[in-house]
Every structure is written in structure tokens, then in C-alpha cells.
């Protein structure tokens, strides 16, 4: 009988913080921009330049720490992590090793209806590196320091996860918390959230951990799930064939669905960490901590309770709406403009979801405004347009955030409510479809559908279906 194995996973998650300026200088953190335009002597590591801590970074890191039930280190310090690489202008990264800002947290995750806690070992602040660009024309490498000094937090979990599902649940939970905080947009594909997976396997029932590997370069949840499966299989294969797992860092290639070793423990670098003498210890006073605590937003669990009480919408809707800060914000903003909650929910749950899937988008990518959704709902409430026209208009709102009222007017999509016009069209339809008319007359009620359909078609969809129905009955 073959052995059964348990997968043990811990994560190191890097999150780019959405501050206006960099962590140690006044340069903009804005994404993009011509190479080396968001730079200064500090973030390009010029000699004699000195770092000055951006307080907003501390506040955002503490906010994440509080939201993940961490203990805040009220006297924390920065350390230098020394290593040579051209994207690292000082050849050391300012990070935190000895006194990270947050410690000993936990978040609750749910998979297959089962709840569990994933413990957080620590959260520390650090600076991002620049970007290397290879120039094929000159066969040389160039460095863009725009990203150098962009603030990051690294959230280090304990090895508490046992499956890819748990890992995804944990990441989604973190992402949701951070998005609720407005601390980062957490886009894996743009690198504002990056996860490294530490994974080992052990025989089920044993206490001791196996040798772990670290897998990097995971740019989507799908890639993470695939990499975990792959690494689990790879390690089990090694153990089954009596070979040892080597402690190493591996790089995942999602196109090839394959990982390869980047560096092993033997050539692991000695980072020679030591406290950065250019920065003074960060003292977070009780008052400051309290200020940050008081500024914490309403998180998902509180929001869920409030939605149930305030909006009386189904639990299912609440669950989906609150699972994205963006959706929840849209929902609330549309209601604030006078729309009925359940109707708003329906638009978000049905049409929005369908179109998002069609365009393979995340809720965070939504660009339409609450104002135009509310306007659309008003048009249907007032029966200015019928539901199929409304769907058509919504598609335009979804893609281009158009003003529905103007759009309906411009394209003449308003429902025709003129009795005479309707009567004329219905008479024509009855004349052209004697069989269906006879069927209705003889009590085959279902046949009315065909007549309604023909009428709607003849009126280019611009009729109220129930009004059409009534007119047909009246004329037969």
C-alpha cells in the first residue's frame, strides 16, 4: 500500500502599499512613467543621500497588522539586507529583520465549509527594488529605478496551510482585508501583490516537517494552484524513489507548467543584516496606534451583518457583494442614489458577473459608475425602457460608463406606449399569423407567446411586453 502524504505550506506575501510617495524619499510611486523619471538621489542610492521614513507607510502597515490580529511592535527598527544586484542601487535593501512592525497575527479562512486559522508570523516593511530591462539592440541591461523605494510589506505566515485551496482562501482573505483597507489594489498580474510558496511534504500522521522549497514567480491564483500541485507531486516522487528533497528556491514557469531550481541552500547568500544606522527607531505611541485603530474601515463580517439588517437581501447576494470591496462600494453608492437594494444587487449579481466573466475581469477592474447604474434602474422603474432594452443599455454602461438617459434618447430605445400604434402592429401580426391566433382563441394559452414575440420584433423591442400581451387578448 502506498503511503499518504500531507502537504505543508507557508506563504511569504509581498504587498505594494498605495502611498503617494516612496518609503524613504518624496518621489512618486505612480506605476508606469518614463524610465528613471520618478527618481532622486535617495532612491537611486547616490553617495551621501539619506533615507527619511514616510509615516504613511507605517500607518498602512499597522492597519494591515491590526486587521490581521497582529501585535504591533511599538518600537520597531529597520535593518539593512546586504546583497549585490544592479536593480538594488545601494546594494542593500532597507527591510526589517530584528524588530518587524507586526507579529503573531492570524486570519480565519474557510474551505469546503470548514473554518480554520492561518497564523501570521510577522509583517515587515521594506523597499522595492528597481527593474532591469534588457536592450537587445545593444545587448546590454538597463536599470529603471522608478519602482526603487516603492513601499512594500511582507506578510509571512506560519506553515499552517495544507492544500492549494487553503492557500487560495488565505490569499483571497488577505487581499480582501487589504482592499477593504485601501492599502493596496493587490493585483497579482501587475505585481502589487506577490506570493512566494514555501512547501514541504510529510507522511500523514508525522509531526516533523519535511525539507521545504520556496517557489517564486507566481502571477495568478491559478498559477499558484498549479505550482503547488506540481511541487507536491515532485517532492512525493522524490521521496517515493528514495531521493532527498533539496532545500532550494525554485522559479515557476506558468507557460511550461514547470519549475526549476534558482539557487540552493549551499549558495544561499549571507545577507549580513544589521540595524540601519541612517534611520532612527520607529516609535508608535499609544495615541498614534489608537488613531490608526479608530480609522479602520468596516470589514467584511461587519458589512455582512449590516447588509442583512439594512437592505434585506438574500445571504447569497450579501456573500458575493461583500467578497469584493469594489462591488460592495458600488452597491452602497448606487443605493445611496435612491435605487432599491434588491434591484441593485440583481444588476451586480447577474449582468455584471456575466459580463465580467465574458471579459475575464476582476471586480477591481470595473469602471462603471454608481450614478449610471442608478439612472438605468430609474429608467426601468419608470417603464421608460423594458428589461431587454435595459440589458442592452447596461452593456454600454459596463464598457463605456455611458449616461443611460442620454443613450436611450439618442438611440430611440424608449418603450412605445402609444395605444394606436400598438393596436395597429398587433392587428398586422394577428393577420399574418392566423394559426397562432386561432390557437389562442381556442384556449391554447401558450400560443400567445409567439404573437408577443412577433409584435416585439416588429416594434424593434421597444414595447412593454405586458402591454403587448394585453392588447393581443383584447383584439382576439
Amino acid at each position: 500500500m502506498s503511503k499518504t502524504y500531507e502537504t505543508v505550506i507557508g506563504l511569504e506575501v509581498h504587498v505594494e502599499l498605495a502611498t503617494k510617495t516612496k518609503i524613504f524619499c518624496g518621489c512618486s510611486t505612480e506605476f508606469g512613467g518614463e524610465p528613471n523619471t520618478h527618481t532622486c538621489p535617495v532612491c537611486t542610492g547616490m553617495p551621501g543621500s539619506l533615507p527619511v521614513l514616510n509615516k504613511a507607510v507605517v500607518e498602512k502597515a499597522v492597519a494591515v497588522g491590526l486587521a490581521t490580529n497582529c501585535t504591533i511592535t511599538q518600537n520597531c527598527k529597520f535593518d539593512r539586507k546586504n546583497y549585490f544586484y544592479p536593480d538594488n542601487p545601494q546594494n542593500y535593501q532597507i527591510s526589517q529583520l530584528y524588530y518587524p512592525i507586526c507579529r503573531d497575527g492570524k486570519v480565519e479562512i474557510e474551505t469546503d465549509g470548514k473554518k480554520k486559522f492561518v497564523r501570521i508570523h510577522e509583517i515587515h516593511m521594506e523597499e522595492d527594488a528597481g527593474k532591469l530591462v534588457h536592450d537587445p539592440y545593444t545587448d546590454s541591461s538597463l536599470v529603471d529605478f522608478n519602482r526603487s523605494g516603492v513601499p512594500l510589506i511582507e506578510i509571512v505566515s506560519e506553515p499552517d496551510m495544507r492544500s492549494a485551496e487553503e492557500v487560495i482562501a488565505y490569499l483571497e482573505k488577505l487581499r480582501l482585508i487589504i482592499q477593504y483597507l485601501g492599502t493596496s489594489d493587490c493585483k497579482l498580474n501587475e505585481g502589487s501583490m506577490r506570493a512566494d510558496v514555501n512547501l514541504s511534504v510529510r507522511e500523514a500522521g508525522t509531526e516533523e516537517f519535511g525539507t521545504r522549497t520556496e517557489t517564486k514567480n507566481l502571477n495568478s491564483f491559478k498559477a499558484i494552484a498549479r505550482a503547488i500541485e506540481h511541487e507536491r507531486e515532485r517532492q512525493i516522487d522524490l521521496l517515493e524513489s528514495g531521493e532527498p528533497v533539496i532545500q532550494e528556491t525554485r522559479r515557476w514557469d506558468d507557460n511550461q507548467e514547470y519549475s526549476y531550481a534558482m539557487r540552493s541552500k549551499e549558495d544561499a547568500q549571507d545577507y549580513r543584516y544589521f540595524p540601519d544606522p541612517d534611520l532612527v527607531p520607529v516609535h508608535i505611541t499609544d495615541e498614534w496606534l489608537e488613531e490608526i485603530r479608530n480609522a479602520q474601515p468596516e470589514f467584511r463580517d461587519e458589512k455582512k451583518l449590516r447588509y442583512k439588517e439594512e437592505y434585506q437581501i438574500p445571504d447569497y447576494d450579501i456573500d458575493i457583494l461583500t467578497n469584493s470591496k469594489k462591488l460592495a462600494d458600488l452597491f452602497e453608492a448606487t443605493i445611496a442614489l435612491g435605487a432599491q437594494p434588491k434591484k441593485v444587487s440583481n444588476w451586480l449579481m447577474v449582468e455584471t458577473m456575466r459580463l465580467m466573466k465574458e471579459h475575464s475581469m476582476d471586480p477591481e477592474d470595473l469602471t462603471f459608475s454608481a450614478k449610471n447604474l442608478a439612472g438605468l434602474i430609474r429608467l426601468t422603474d419608470d417603464k421608460v425602457i423594458n428589461s431587454s432594452v435595459a440589458k442592452e443599455v447596461f452593456e454600454k454602461i459596463f464598457t463605456d460608463d455611458i449616461d443611460p438617459e442620454a443613450y436611450v434618447k439618442e438611440h430611440g430605445l424608449a418603450t412605445v406606449n402609444d395605444e394606436d400604434t400598438l393596436k395597429k402592429v398587433v392587428e398586422e401580426v394577428i393577420a399574418k399569423n392566423p394559426k397562432a391566433a386561432d390557437d389562442v382563441r381556442s384556449g391554447k394559452d401558450k400560443a400567445i407567446g409567439a404573437l408577443v414575440g412577433q409584435t416585439m420584433k416588429a416594434m424593434h423591442g421597444k414595447a412593454d411586453p405586458s402591454a403587448v400581451n394585453q392588447m393581443i387578448r383584447k383584439l382576439l
Binding site: P89, Q90, V143, Y273
Partner: protein, 490 residues
């Protein structure tokens, strides 16, 4: 009249009075550099064109009444580890060949705002590592008192330039004695301020937790005046301290009545030359006669300062100097096979022996497995040294002692024996480790006519007390010039 024989404040007064134009002052300075620096090699670079241009601008401002400070129009030299926008800044190292920063160090900026004319950048030990100014890539600086001797270091170029009267005053930096020791060796006055008093922004770091910029000049008045200008809070340096007690010239009074002065017994060991020993006791006697209360005491921890200093300073240096890698600026090796090889060759060829020694020492003490045994222990020693001073300053206003165990050594004498050179820092490094202010001023001459330095150390941010004590001592023995300098006017 030889304008360069004046102190900076004296020259500033003449300029304000209209007796001397800024251009004339700058002209005198530049001509002295041109005439005498061939012999001493105090300068790495001199920017004549910029100096005259600055002179013109400053003269205009002064004429318009916009510059009223005591040093407006007075020329100054700056140690070549302070960045100046548009000027070559080398740290006397090959690895910074051709490096021209786009920004100016805060201390230099403060001087410029006060109307100073910067004439050039002075020679130093490479990256301020050394006590002789012999490790410079641009050649050694010679002591104006005796050109077979070193000027001290690492601010040897600044000290020698003042002693040789090539400039009225200069800026230096002091990590373990680099202002005070060359001041002593060259018979001039220098202040190492309290850590945090002067912004380090733009100062190319050696040991970041110890580095401080300070003045070197002919007398205490000049030093106090310069320090008053450069010691302003700078938000660009996180370790800069925001205070408003920098009116140092107020302390220039010949009055030490009732001042409690401690004389550490543990300073006086076999390693200290007897003539320096005598000079310190003579200074104590002079001050006692002026009404100060002198008391001998045991400071403690003296023998641990050197090893702790070389561990901490080297550790920080090993990291601070990582940015010099041939990638972004400065020297890059001509031929290389790959990135790693480029790093290795650029750094091997770009750094001198002493710098490499300290990078290796620093890298070793920070490496995993040794960090606790060396670096952490050194930090504990640093804290204990601070405590020893704290205890002393409960009883004394200032501590009096020597600056160095010897007067200026012969050229080449200490390079062969780095440990001997390191031990020469015994009276200066504890002051940096404790972050305290110290002043070095001339206090006599040895048999061979070389100047002896006297040091006063004060409690943190009590520069005024050491200035007051030094000023009182200075009144009894006026400033002397090196023989050759004095002979210029005969």
C-alpha cells in the same frame, strides 16, 4: 598685508568694512593655493572659475545688504567627502573617478547661504579611513610643520590647508578623530560636534552612526562661528536633531571660574608621549589658575574603545561602500566577463588596501555566526562607554585630555603597521562612540617643534562648555604658525 594670515572672522570683518573685496579675498586664497599646495598637496580639486563667479555673486548680495553674516565673502575649503552639485567629489578614491553629484551636502549648503566662497575640495584618507592622509588615491598630504611628516587624518588636507594658510578655514568630518587628530598634528583648532548636531546629508558615509561634519580653523572663535552656521536641523537627515541652542559664539568668554574639569587618570599610560602628558597637565594648571576646579578621576572602558570602534565603523562601512560597484557612477573596470566579474574587478581595482581591509573586517563581523560575538558585543561596549561618560558628566562640565598619544608621525611610518595606527585613535574614538562633542586645539610643542593637541570633551549638545574652556586656554598661548609659513612674510 597677507590676507591669509587672518582668521576667518577677521577677514570677514575686513570684507564687511569694505577694506577688502570678496574678489581680493578669493584671489589671495587661490594664489596661496597655487603657490604653496605643490609642496603640501592639500587639495584634490580647486575650482578657480566657480570661486570667482561665487565671489562676484556674494559681493553683489553684500553690497545690497543681503548678506550680513560674519563669514560672508570668506573663502573656505571642503573635505572631498562632501557632495557639491556640479563638482567632482572623490573621497580621495579611484572608485569615485569622475563622479559629479547633482546635489550639495547640507553643511556646505548652509555655508553657501551664509556667503562662503568654496574654493576647492581637500585631500583625505580614502573614504576617511586612516589617520595620516596617506591612503588617498591622489597622493599623500604633507604636514606644513615638517614635510617629512603626515598631517594626520583623515581630514589631513583640510587641517594642512589651514596650517599652510592656503585657506582661512575648512570643513572636515570626524568618525573616530578625523577632525581633532589632524588639527592636533597641524597645530590648528577643530571641533567634532555632538552626533546629530550637523546634518550628514550629502556627506559620503564611512561609519554612519559616528560620522559628523565639523570646522577646522586657526582658532576657537572661527570654529564656534562656523559651527553656528552649519549646525541647523535638517529634515533630510533622520539623525539630525532639532534644537535651538547653537549660539556657540556666546560661549567665547575668557571665564572658567568654578568650571569642573575632569582629567581621566586612565588616559595617562606608557603609550602617551611624556611631552604630551606634560602639555595636558600644563593646560590643567593654566585653567586652574583661571579658577577652574580640576580633578583626576577614572573614566573606565578606555581600553575597549578601539576594538569596539573598528568593529562598528568597519561593519557600517562594509555596507555603506557596497553602492560603489561600477554600475551607476565612478570607476568601472575595462574588461569583464559577466556581472559578478565586473563587480569584483571594479571594486578590487577601485578601492585601496586600507578600504579593502575595513570592508573585509566589517563583512566578517556582520556575517552569520559572528554577528553576536562581534557586532552585538561592540554595540554593548559602545553603550557602556556612553554610560562611563554619563557618570563623568554628572561631576564634570568638561573632560580634559590629549588628542593623540604622539605628535605627527613620519610619512610611511604607520602604513606598515595598521594596528599601531588604530591604537593612535585611543583618545578620540570613545568620543564618537558616545556621540559627544570634542574640540582639539594647540597646547604646546614637542622637542622637534611639532604641535601638541589638547582635547576637551563635553556632554551631548554641550558644545558651549568645551568652546568656553578651549577659548580660555587659547588666551594664554596665542596661535603659532609653522616656521615656513611665518617666514613667508619676512
Amino acid at each position: 598685508m597677507d590676507l591669509m594670515s587672518l582668521t576667518a572672522v577677521e577677514l570677514g570683518k575686513k570684507i564687511h568694512a569694505g577694506e577688502v573685496s570678496v574678489k581680493e579675498a578669493v584671489q589671495a586664497c587661490l594664489s596661496h593655493i597655487e603657490t604653496y599646495d605643490k609642496e603640501y598637496n592639500c587639495f584634490v580639486s580647486v575650482d578657480t572659475e566657480r570661486a570667482y563667479q561665487q565671489a562676484e555673486e556674494i559681493q553683489k548680495k553684500m553690497d545690497a545688504g543681503k548678506l550680513t553674516g560674519p563669514l560672508a565673502g570668506v573663502p573656505v575649503a571642503v573635505k572631498d567627502n562632501m557632495c557639491m552639485a556640479g563638482s567632482l567629489t572623490t573621497c580621495s578614491s579611484k572608485i569615485l573617478s569622475g563622479f559629479v553629484p547633482t546635489y550639495t551636502s547640507d553643511a556646505v549648503l548652509k555655508l553657501q547661504e551664509a556667503g562662503a566662497v568654496i574654493v576647492g575640495k581637500t585631500n583625505m584618507d580614502e573614504f576617511a579611513m586612516g589617520s595620516t592622509t596617506e591612503t588617498s588615491y591622489y597622493g599623500e598630504t604633507k604636514n606644513p610643520w615638517d614635510t617629512t611628516r603626515v598631517p594626520g587624518g583623515s581630514s589631513g588636507g583640510s587641517a594642512a590647508a589651514v596650517a599652510a594658510e592656503e585657506v582661512p578655514y575648512a570643513l572636515g568630518s570626524d568618525t573616530g578623530g578625523s577632525i581633532r587628530q589632524p588639527a592636533a598634528f597641524c597645530g590648528v583648532t577643530g571641533i567634532k560636534p555632538t552626533y546629530g548636531r550637523v546634518s550628514r546629508y550629502g556627506l559620503i558615509a564611512y561609519g554612519s552612526s559616528l560620522d559628523q561634519i565639523g570646522p577646522l580653523a586657526k582658532d576657537v572663535t572661527d570654529c564656534a562661528t562656523v559651527l553656528e552656521i552649519i549646525s541647523q536641523y535638517d529634515p533630510k537627515d533622520s539623525t539630525s536633531v532639532n534644537r535651538n541652542d547653537n549660539h556657540f559664539t556666546e560661549a567665547l568668554t575668557d571665564n572658567v571660574k568654578g568650571m569642573h574639569i575632569g582629567l581621566p587618570r586612565d588616559y595617562f599610560t606608557d603609550g602617551l608621549e611624556p611631552e604630551i602628558w606634560d602639555a595636558v597637565y600644563h593646560a590643567a594648571k593654566v585653567l586652574e589658575e583661571k579658577g577652574a576646579v580640576i580633578e583626576e578621576f577614572d573614566l573606565g572602558m578606555v581600553e575597549y574603545a578601539i576594538p569596539a570602534y573598528y568593529i562598528i565603523a568597519s561593519a557600517e562601512a562594509s555596507s555603506n561602500l557596497e553602492r560603489f560597484d561600477g554600475v551607476k557612477y565612478g570607476y568601472r573596470t575595462k574588461e569583464y566577463t559577466d556581472l559578478h566579474n565586473m563587480y569584483k574587478k571594479s571594486r578590487s581595482e577601485g578601492f585601496g588596501a586600507e578600504v579593502k581591509r575595513r570592508i573585509m573586517l566589517g563583512s566578517f563581523v556582520l556575517s552569520s555566526g559572528y554577528y553576536d560575538a562581534y557586532y552585538v558585543k561592540a554595540l554593548k561596549v559602545k553603550a557602556m562607554i556612553k554610560q562611563a561618560y554619563d557618570r563623568a558628566f554628572e561631576k564634570y562640565d568638561v573632560i580634559l585630555g590629549p588628542v593623540a598619544p604622539t605628535t605627527a608621525l613620519k610619512l610611511g611610518e604607520s602604513l606598515s603597521d595598521p594596528i599601531k595606527m588604530y591604537l593612535g585613535d585611543v583618545y578620540t574614538v570613545p568620543v564618537n562612540l558616545a556621540g559627544l562633542p570634542g574640540i582639539s586645539l594647540p597646547g604646546g610643542y614637542d622637542q622637534s617643534g611639532m604641535p601638541i593637541g589638547i582635547q576637551f570633551v563635553g556632554n551631548a549638545f554641550e558644545e558651549k562648555k568645551i568652546i568656553q574652556a578651549a577659548y580660555a586656554l587659547e588666551q594664554t598661548g596665542s596661535y603659532h604658525r609653522p616656521k615656513k609659513v611665518a617666514e613667508r612674510r619676512l
